[in-house]
């Protein structure tokens, strides 16, 4: 009986992990889309990172809160 309960808990955990991973993946896609919409030249999801590139991006990043928050909050 204890083994069945442990198996059920394992299944529940696996489902939760999948849900969390799917949510994180969606968040990364949202961020990448928002970055492109904000005028960033390139935004790609690479594994667990959203990689941005573009001319003058660092300077803009440091001075623009909306860009840093793009895809994260609804302002």
């Amino acid at each position: 009986m204890a083994a069945v309960a442990a198996d059920a808990a394992g299944v529940k955990l696996a489902v939760l992990v999948r849900l969390v991973e799917a949510r994180a993946e969606q968040r990364r896609r949202d961020v990448a889309e928002a970055m492109l919409a904000a005028g960033v030249e390139d935004a790609q999801v690479e594994g667990e990172a959203v990689r941005l590139s573009g001319r003058g991006l660092l300077r803009r990043w440091m001075s623009d809160l909306m860009l840093r928050e793009a895809g994260r909050v609804r302002g």
Partner: protein, 138 residues
């Protein structure tokens, strides 16, 4: 008063009111100054979103504090960042009609400036606030 304006003003007042921080800075500016000598701090943009509940008006704010310094290393900025964090955790919006119920550092970035020996730090804070009962909506 809107939460953005009230809390931003409270943060500026708190930073300016901290003797230890002001002992290290030439100024705390409300927005990017036209001219300033390092080291100085800038309270920048503020974004607000809803953080209310039934019968409770609330806002979640994102607020930026920027620090600028000149030097071979960002050592002094590290001290300033630490003190800024202490001040931010103690900010009280007081009589503005809003109560700050949470302050959290969202992200912080330290970067070399474009000019020689210039350093810049940007810190974004998340502040959650609720309107005090009886406070007027203006």
């Amino acid at each position: 008063m809107s939460a953005e304006v009230a809390v931003r003003a409270a943060v500026i007042a708190a930073l300016r009111g901290d003797a230890e921080l002001m002992g290290e800075l030439n100024g705390v500016f409300d927005g990017t100054p036209v001219r300033a000598s390092t080291p100085y701090a800038v309270v920048g943009e503020c974004i607000a979103g809803d953080w209310g509940a039934k019968g409770l008006e609330g806002r979640e704010l994102r607020l930026t504090v920027g620090l600028h310094d000149a030097g071979e290393t960002p050592g002094r900025l590290a001290v300033l960042l630490g003190r800024t964090e202490t001040v931010m955790q103690a900010v009280d919006a007081g009589g503005s009609g809003w109560r700050i119920v949470g302050v959290r550092l969202v992200r912080s970035r330290l970067a070399k400036g474009r000019e020689k020996d210039q350093w810049q730090a940007v810190v974004d804070y998340r502040l959650r606030v609720v309107r005090l009962e009886g406070a007027a909506i203006i």
